[in-house]
Amino acid sequence: MLSLTDKPLIRSLLIFSLILLAAGICAFLLAPLLIPIILSFALYALFDPLSNMLQRKGLNDSLSALLVLCLLVLISILGISIVFPMLAEQLLVLQTKMPKLWDSLNNFSDQVQQLLNSYGINFDPTAITQPIMSLSSSWGKDTVIRLSNMLIDMTVTVILVPLFTFFLIRDYKSLRNKALDLLPNKSFELGWLIYYRVAKKLEEYIRGIMMQSGIMAIVTSIGFYLAGLESPVLLGTIAGLLNLIPYVGPLLAMVPPIIIALGAPVFDPVLIAAAIGVIITAQLIDNIIVVPAVIANAVNLHPITVIVGIIIFGNFFGFIGMIVAIPALATSNIILTGLRHGMKKDTVT
């Protein structure tokens, strides 16, 4: 007679739960280093092809990893010396202009009310705008503080991440082989097969999403600069980062530039239209050129699963949770499907 644990679905769910528990324990123990570790894995996925290329030129593992480390250090130095000060400066400018910005938004609301009253329409837009204004005001202030803290955290991360990435590029494959070789004979091939599928999907997704985010940051920064918006690099960076969140991110990315455009000292409908135009153009470039070229079919998940996943992960783990929601869901999907297939075969034969 079959016991409950002999059923393929129950067995695969049990093993999947154990994997999830192990992942949860690891995440808990490594909590302070989780962001540098995630970033290092993302950079590993991005720079591993470069390391392979250097090996093709005849360099050994350590030397190719060292050259990649040098490149990462160079990027970090450039980041610290050029991009960070630029972002910090634009943040300060934004912070000092914040009270004026909210005043301008209030004035805009009053003008709309007057315009409507002149046409005999008795409508008080402040009834709608006031709660939104107070909400966005606190959100805006919080965001500035949060972004400032993020810049400090990023400075620490900038030191750790290249180091972790170097060791990943040099030793990841041998460590992975040793870990997977510990699997018993019965599940050895299945374990490798699941790993192979997960790794391939994640590599595709991470490379794609990072390229997409970078392209979006550059396109929107240039667009906002040409449109004459305040703090274009900061707004572009925010748009690039938000683009890491599928579906929801591009919508959220529209909010900061529109608020900045609405809060201009003189009401300027052209500026508002330009801000919206930049975001829409960037999204068009993203959807027509970037997405099909770099991340199409990287994860086969239903849009509803993606949106629900993003909301749930975002609720529990914040912004980072929203970014890792898709890779985590795709990984779980592949592991569970692989386990179910493997367990079925075990029972049938």
């Binding site: 070789d181 510990l182 004979n185 490798w192 493997g342």
Partner: protein, 166 residues
């Protein structure tokens, strides 16, 4: 089990593994898969392959399992079966399961250890990583795999023709 066949986890980590790698490297280089590929390249690949120990009658894979790579016999014997019928008995230096190096499809026969044996698994991720870092010998290996698979196909066609003639 002889003293060389210890589980990888418990082996002496200070022991020089070079002899073992050289032996596996020699075995692979004599197979049609690695024909025309220099030993230095094979050696680099062998370092990342996966030695596994199987006891008598232990199942290596079953029909319908999704395969993830080819298997070389370093010691012992392996029976390839279709149901209860033994199709072939393979010994040291033979390899099987190479179809799984190129396609994500189910195994078409059972492989069972006839004696205690040590097998070397050459998996698809090893092949793909090697193709990225060493594309020239990688292309030669792919050509060799094609020749081996074409040979198997020709053999299967001959058998079918023979069966039809009978």
């Amino acid at each position: 089990m002889d003293k060389d066949n210890k589980h990888p986890l418990w082996e002496n980590i200070f022991r020089h593994k070079d002899d073992r790698i050289t032996e596996v490297c020699n075995l692979w280089s004599e197979t049609p898969l690695f024909k025309g590929i220099s030993k230095s390249y094979i050696r680099r690949l062998v370092k990342n392959m996966h030695p596994r120990l199987y006891t008598t009658d232990e199942i290596i894979f079953k029909t319908g399992d999704i395969g993830s790579g080819a298997v070389l016999i370093k010691s012992g014997e392996v029976a390839i079966k279709a149901g209860e019928k033994v199709l072939a008995v393979l010994t040291k230096g033979d390899f099987f399961g190479e179809v799984a190096l190129v396609v994500d499809e189910a195994r078409t026969a059972d492989a069972v250890a006839s004696t205690d044996c040590e097998l070397i698994f050459f998996l698809r991720p090893d092949l793909e990583e090697w193709l990225h870092s060493s594309p020239k010998p990688g292309a030669q290996l792919m050509a060799n795999i094609s020749k081996v698979l074409a040979g198997r196909l020709r053999h299967a066609n001959d058998m079918l023709a023979q069966k039809a003639a009978d």
